[in-house]
Symmetry: C2
């Protein structure tokens, strides 16, 4: 008999999630163009918003952004920053998200931009270009892989509520 390899999320898993979200600066995005059977992958800039929702900063010129405007069902793979060692044993979080573009004017945008650039000063050179917008990546479900034999189902609540 084969054991279900996916475990329920516990505090250990929630701590790994908390650290992944706190440190994340980029991720891999998958989108589904309406006219193609192939998912399209790209690396994007991604940081946690105040409420820990993953937030992308995307150029309207990029293929992935044009696809998201047509089909907001997307996937993210969020991993710890590059490190030595075996990439297959490092923690990574696979999320199903609904993407929502936010306006790139107004005080909320300005506040978000300031926090973003504070965490990633190099973003300054493009973040204020008129084709760049923040996109909320609202988690619907997820899978945390923390190495061989350590896989957890992750809910939106697990992401929003870290352990103390």
């Amino acid at each position: 008999m084969i054991k279900d390899p996916i475990q329920p999320t516990d505090d250990d898993a929630r701590r790994i999630l908390r650290d992944l979200l706190a440190e994340m600066q980029h991720a891999v995005l998958a989108v589904n163009p309406p006219d193609s059977p192939f998912p399209h992958l790209s690396r994007i800039a991604l940081q946690a918003d105040d409420d820990r929702t993953p937030m992308a900063l995307l150029s309207g010129l990029a293929t992935h952004t044009r696809v998201l405007a047509l089909n907001p069902h997307a996937g993210l793979l969020i991993a710890a920053p590059p490190a030595k060692g075996d990439a297959m044993t490092q923690a990574r979080l696979s999320l199903q998200v609904i993407a929502k573009q936010l306006p790139n004017t107004g005080p909320e945008h300005a506040a978000r931009l300031e926090i973003w650039v504070g965490r990633n000063p190099k973003a300054k050179v493009y973040a204020t270009l008129p084709d760049f917008h923040f996109w909320r990546m609202e988690p619907q479900a997820g899978l945390l892989n923390a190495g061989f034999g350590k896989a957890y189902h992750v809910t939106a609540a697990d992401l929003a509520n870290p352990p103390a």
Copy 2:
């Protein structure tokens, strides 16, 4: 007027591709489950085969493998090994692929396994488990992003024929 940001592939791009394929040990895979609008992302072990086709070594128990058996249209994001510096300026290759499972018995499998484990000795502990198979990821089209302002359309021929 907005300039097309994607350039035709040249020898510089083909050299970057050659190095990415030669060094790759893993990648991000996106698959589309037939019963979900969300692409599913995961990190997988990936190496170039003799003819430079990306080849994955996958467990039949993994979600992505079960999805590939139902829908072979997949995406890969292949990046250089972890390095310091800005992840958004490092070269990465986004591929559209058709996945094909290979038999895990016979002399061709044994030869492939020997080469694979030679490049990644840690794979020895799972590579011979009965649920593991090689999957050819046959490239249909691709996009190479070698940093801001350096994006190239990539064909299967560009991948198969590196510059001297």
